[in-house]
Symmetry: C2
Subunit: 140 residues, 2 copies
């Protein structure tokens, strides 16, 4: 029968987090965008410039999905793209000024999310959780 419901719980937590992120993104001018759009932006904070395929690997989404995500972000004015000079197949994505301006808001949202997550959870437990999830993730 059912051994436990950990997989189920991870799914639920994941969905609730996404709901929360979507809601908070709406408050900082990103209404109508999904968590994955946020993932794109977050990776641009980290790497400044990144190709479509690197983005695809970084956010674990199909290349065709990344095309759609970046198109939307471009249309909204948060990112821009240019062709790579060395390899004309490659498209390189970067933040516009209005994209860069989001960074502090992203940090705040991220902090808030983890505050919610870890209410009543000790640092010790947090580390244990982190370890266990990393191990389970590598089991698949």
């Amino acid at each position: 029968m059912q051994i436990d419901n950990t997989i189920f719980l991870m799914g639920r937590i994941s969905e609730k987090s996404n709901r929360y992120l979507t809601q908070e993104m709406g408050k900082i001018g990103l209404a109508g965008l999904a968590p994955s759009h946020g993932d794109v932006i977050a990776n641009l904070f980290k790497y400044q410039e990144i190709s479509m395929s690197q983005l695809s690997s970084a956010i674990f989404r199909d290349p065709s999905t990344v095309t759609a995500l970046v198109n939307k972000l471009k249309q909204r004015g948060f990112v821009q793209t240019r062709k790579d000079e060395e390899d004309s197949r490659v498209t390189i994505v970067s933040l516009t000024d209005s994209g860069k301006a989001l960074e502090p808001h992203f940090q705040a949202i991220s902090r808030d999310l983890y505050d919610i997550e870890y209410q009543g959870v000790t640092d010790e437990e947090r580390k244990t959780l982190q370890c266990l999830l990393a191990k389970i993730n590598s089991n698949f």
Copy 2:
């Protein structure tokens, strides 16, 4: 910045599980169906008969999504529906014989999934994980 990546890991594990479930469902005659369809069926193993709205609560999906899920399962011949006699608004869903025949396969898939998840994880750790996830889930 980023405090940890537990939320991210839960999302990844959840997606990988879903990928696995979809694949295994394909092997038992459920190709083209999603994990949520499996959730509907699993709840019917548990309750035999259940209304659309109860199903909606049980699988945490919008009522309109449940309508679509059940329609597809009906079309494939795994479930059937009837009107409740007491309240004609209510639709009650139940398994057909070919739906019931899936139960042992579901048990096997569920077992296999947990075997994968818990490779190299002790019973103690499993309990800890279960506890922490339950707490975090209730934090949202």
